[in-house]
Amino acid sequence: MGALEIAGRILLQFWPVWLGLAAIFALSFRFKTCLGLYGRLMDSGIGKVGLFIVLFWLLTAILADLVITISPLDQIAGMKNAAPGTVVPGVEGQYYLLGGDNLARDVFSRMVMGSRTVLAIAPAATLFAFMIAFTLGLPAGYFGGRFDTVLSFIANLVLAFPVILLFYLLVTPEIRASGIPVMAAAVLFLFPIIFAALLLWSRFKTQPAKLALYLAITLVLGVWAYSGLAFNADPLGVFSMDPNLLNIFVSVVFVNAPAVFRIIRGLTIDIRTRDYVAAAQTRGETPWYIMLWEILPNARGPLIVDFSLRIGYTTILLGTLGFFGLGVSPESPDWGMTINEGRKQLSIHPHPALPPALALMSLVLGLNLLADGLREQALKD
């Protein structure tokens, strides 16, 4: 098969993704004016390209089952290191579109499936890091004092670690056996609940009926998810996390949170001197109301941009973990791990390592372009 035919077949294989993308973009253009910052993204060339790439991978992750040609774990005899476009023996019209890897698995399907691992962990881990940073960074910047000094010191401490060393120390079977990840998760996963509770409490303090209802809903949902994610003890079995995955998730959150903390602290210190904060103080609002409902919304521009950039950075981190063999599980088609497996025979068979490498790069590039577009549009505020 020629290179053009391979490319054509790959594009064809992604048909559900193209369909989804067309629908999303058509709707976005139609309702551009009433979608706020997202709608204005449609006016920025870079933003559109970024959004396109990010949505492409997001849809690929969701629809991966429809896109793959062969199960990513199937090993077919005779396909070891097969060249791109090789026909699968015995099956009519089945191809290894991007060739076979060292264990005779389909490189294309593995690349497509690999998007799932990344997109399941990276955005969620980034979101958790942001929640933690909100809950700690806002008071640190707003009140200052000893609380700020101690937290800033700890944040700088974590940031002074080379990331790789930290991962090597935190993502090991010995650490998993010691129960440290579960304990860390027990602490870290509390923060989103605290954050949500504070958000509601500060807003509806004067309306006890509403407050009680909202708080109850949040706490039930929060504690339910918490028991499942941190302790794997969800009575209904909806929320659960593999211990290995939990270990990686916790480490990634732990690495990201201090950096976000510093950003939020800096923004808070800047914004707390504004007039509208002084007005709220004079009005007699509580500090938490001022932090969460006055300062935070006004810091959203840089934070949205950083969120997008940070998902990209987390994607790179996850790839790094896989590259050093600390990934999810040896069988899984995680991009970093596939690159790591492929690099050993790079000078003879480069085709197994290149697709996941380029996939990872394109996703991060998409997120960076999206961040650029968002920054461009947010500055117009």
Binding site: F153, N156, L157, L159, A160, F161, P162, V163, I164, L165, Y168, L169, L170, T172, P173, E174, I175, A177, S178, G312, I316, G319, T320, F323, F324, G336, I339, N340, G342, R343, L346, S347, I348, H349, P350, H351, A353, L354, A357, L358, L360, M361, V364, L365, L367, N368, L369, D372
Partner: protein, 348 residues
């Protein structure tokens, strides 16, 4: 200024202390020590044998006490080997027992003994850091001028086609981590399948003699990832300077565009990137680990991976000291340099 530096050095020492303690705790979990014992003797030891080996080799003391031993504030452990010879933390093969010091730790300049390389840690670290130093040097030599040129060219006419093109180039370079660009570069320039075997895929021979053939790919791989970020900072700074009053004045008094850029804008535009370049060093440290693993260049990063893989406690501790010193020292230099470059800022 002196007090400022002293204070920063104090914070640095405190940070190093906390970090090494964290590393110490994480590497001295009981399961890790068991693994270490089995690695050192044999993998089929019984639990009693493991305990015996651990207590015979000074791992039996409480955690804090042993951290003190490593620091050199508590006397090192001593014992007797099966053949009756004295053993201990401070015992050296060719030093008579009477002259063996009681304390031997970081404060005495002794960094311990590597269980992987079977050599004193100090020597290993010095040798490996020197190798990585060469890599870093060449990365800087390639990366910084390239980044500054790209940034200045992009920023001098904001919004022009040149700016768009160069900006996309820098975004792409920041989005390409080392393990991606390294893999792509090796596939294109060092594999048989593309037919361009210009360079070598391994930098192992560069440890003895650096040549264009064996050192280009690792240097390029690292330089590409770091470059985009510096270039973007330079661009932002340059674009800001180009809108300043004095640049407009220079334009109005009839200077050519080249003269305005080179004589008036450039110097002021380079203040911000200086800070960014200094803060890039810690980032390079992570890159070094990936690149050295990928190109099998046995420098600091490679040593760190080996140490971490084998739970080599004292080697890992020294690696973290090196990392902390690099990170904090570059922060300090960037702060001080900023004050010298920018007379509007004074340290209070």
């Amino acid at each position: 200024m002196g007090r400022f530096i002293l204070k920063r050095l104090g914070v640095m020492a405190l940070t190093a202390l906390c970090l090494t303690f964290a590393v110490f705790v994480l590497t001295n979990l009981h399961a890790s020590l068991e693994k270490l014992a089995k690695n050192q003797v044999n993998t089929r030891m019984t639990d009693e044998q493991v305990e015996l080996w651990l207590s015979n080799n000074g791992y039996g003391e409480p955690l804090l006490w042993r951290y003190g031993e490593w620091l050199g504030v508590v006397p090192g452990w001593t014992g007797t080997a099966e053949n009756g010879k004295p053993t201990g933390r401070c015992v050296q093969p060719n030093v008579p027992p009477e002259e063996t010091p009681r304390f031997c730790g970081v404060l005495q300049g002794y960094f311990g003994f590597s269980t992987v390389f079977h050599q004193p840690v100090g020597g290993i670290i010095a040798e490996r850091v020197a190798l990585t130093g060469w890599l870093m040097l060449w990365v800087m030599v390639v990366m910084v001028p390239m980044a500054l040129v790209v940034g200045v060219l992009a920023g001098m006419r904001e919004g022009s086609r040149l700016d768009r093109g160069l900006s996309i180039f820098s975004i792409t370079s920041t989005a390409t981590p080392e393990y991606v660009s390294g893999v792509v570069l090796i596939a294109v320039f060092a594999s048989t399948s593309f037919g361009l075997q210009w360079f070598k895929a391994s930098a192992a021979s560069a440890m003895d003699r650096m040549t264009l053939e064996n050192f280009t790919l690792p240097v390029l791989t690292m330089a590409l990832y770091g470059m985009g970020y510096i270039a973007r900072m330079t661009r932002a700074s340059m674009a800001e300077v180009m809108t300043a009053q004095y640049v407009r004045t220079a334009h109005l008094k009839g200077l050519s565009f080249g003269a305005v850029v080179l004589k008036h804008a450039l110097r002021n535009a380079l203040i911000a990137p200086f800070t960014v370049i200094m803060l890039q060093f810690p980032w390079l440290l992570t890159g070094v680990v990936i690149v050295e693993a990928l190109f099998s260049y046995k420098g600091f990063g490679w040593t760190l991976v080996r140490a971490a893989d084998n739970n080599d406690i004292e080697l890992l501790l020294s690696c973290s000291i090196v990392a902390v010193v690099v990170v904090l020292l570059t922060q300090l230099i960037s702060d001080i340099g900023y004050v010298f470059l920018n007379p509007r800022v004074r340290v209070s």
